[in-house]
């Protein structure tokens, strides 16, 4: 994928995976800037963290767009973060064989956490009956 910068020269690294990764970090960062900071505000500022109870989530997730928001945040943050970790590993692990082993494991871990998060977001249905306190403690 190449983006036109309007300055003429192609990215020096060419059109490989590493170049895509470089752009991906920046593109995902734009989305994450708003998604992540607003997430912090919604869960620590507009509502105290002790009030982010099961009951609050049940109310929020009744609106599917909250689930979409959180899923977008999950996906972008996980990919952005894990790709960053991959770059860090590339910096410090000298052996090619070990890089392959570690980064393959990283990919599997990413997949596992993505699945856990997605399943949580899709399948959450509040239980019938008592949903617990609105604010805890």
């Amino acid at each position: 994928m190449r983006f036109s910068t309007g300055y003429g020269a192609r990215p020096a690294g060419g059109s490989g995976l590493e170049t895509f990764s470089w752009y991906f970090m920046r593109m995902s960062a734009i989305g994450l800037f708003f998604l992540a900071i607003l997430h912090l505000i919604f869960n620590h500022v507009t509502t105290d963290v002790s009030c982010t109870s099961y009951q609050l989530i049940a109310v929020r997730y009744a609106n599917p767009y909250w689930r979409v928001y959180d899923w977008l945040l999950l996906t972008l943050a996980l990919l952005h973060g894990m790709n960053g970790l991959r770059v860090v590993i590339d910096d410090y692990v000298r052996s090619q064989a070990w890089r392959v082993r570690i980064e393959s494991t990283l990919a599997l871990i990413t997949l596992a956490f993505f699945m856990i998060g997605t399943v949580t977001l899709i399948t959450f249905q509040p239980v019938a009956g008592n949903l617990g306190l609105h604010c805890l403690k």
Binding site: R26, L32, H44, V45, D48, Q55, F124, L136
Partner: protein
């Protein structure tokens, strides 16, 4: 120890903050998955976040997210707006200032309940 200048510290802090947030994210995905086990189990887990020690640790998380975000913007400006490179050092100090400015009110909301102060966000729900 390489005697790098502010740019090296900016890079190092960016990396440490990013790794810290990632580590938290992995724990966070697991603790939210407790929703599947019903209100008692989930609320038990969430009540940990309201304790004093965890509130203080979450200050570090908020600072890390804010710094990483604002320094990330500085990086993108340097990458995509050619004349910004000249001001990268000044932008770094700007990043620190903006991080602190945004951190202070958020930190207040997180820490006030430790001292019994209700900063006004306890009853609301969104």
């Amino acid at each position: 120890m390489y005697r790098g200048q502010s740019g090296m510290w900016a890079w190092l802090l960016h990396r440490v903050a990013g790794l810290g947030v990632l580590l938290f994210l992995l724990v966070h995905i697991v603790d939210i998955s407790l929703l599947g086990f019903g209100p008692n189990v989930y609320n038990e887990g969430i009540s940990l976040f309201g304790t004093t020690i965890v509130r203080i640790i979450s200050l570090a998380l908020i600072a890390a997210v804010l710094y990483h975000a604002f320094n990330g913007i500085r990086i993108m400006l340097v990458d995509f707006v050619p004349w910004c490179v000249r001001y990268q050092r000044a932008m770094f100090w700007g990043v620190l200032v903006v991080t602190i400015i945004c951190f202070l009110p958020m930190g207040y909301f997180v820490v006030a309940p430790i001292f019994g102060i209700n900063p006004g966000n306890m009853a609301s729900g969104m």
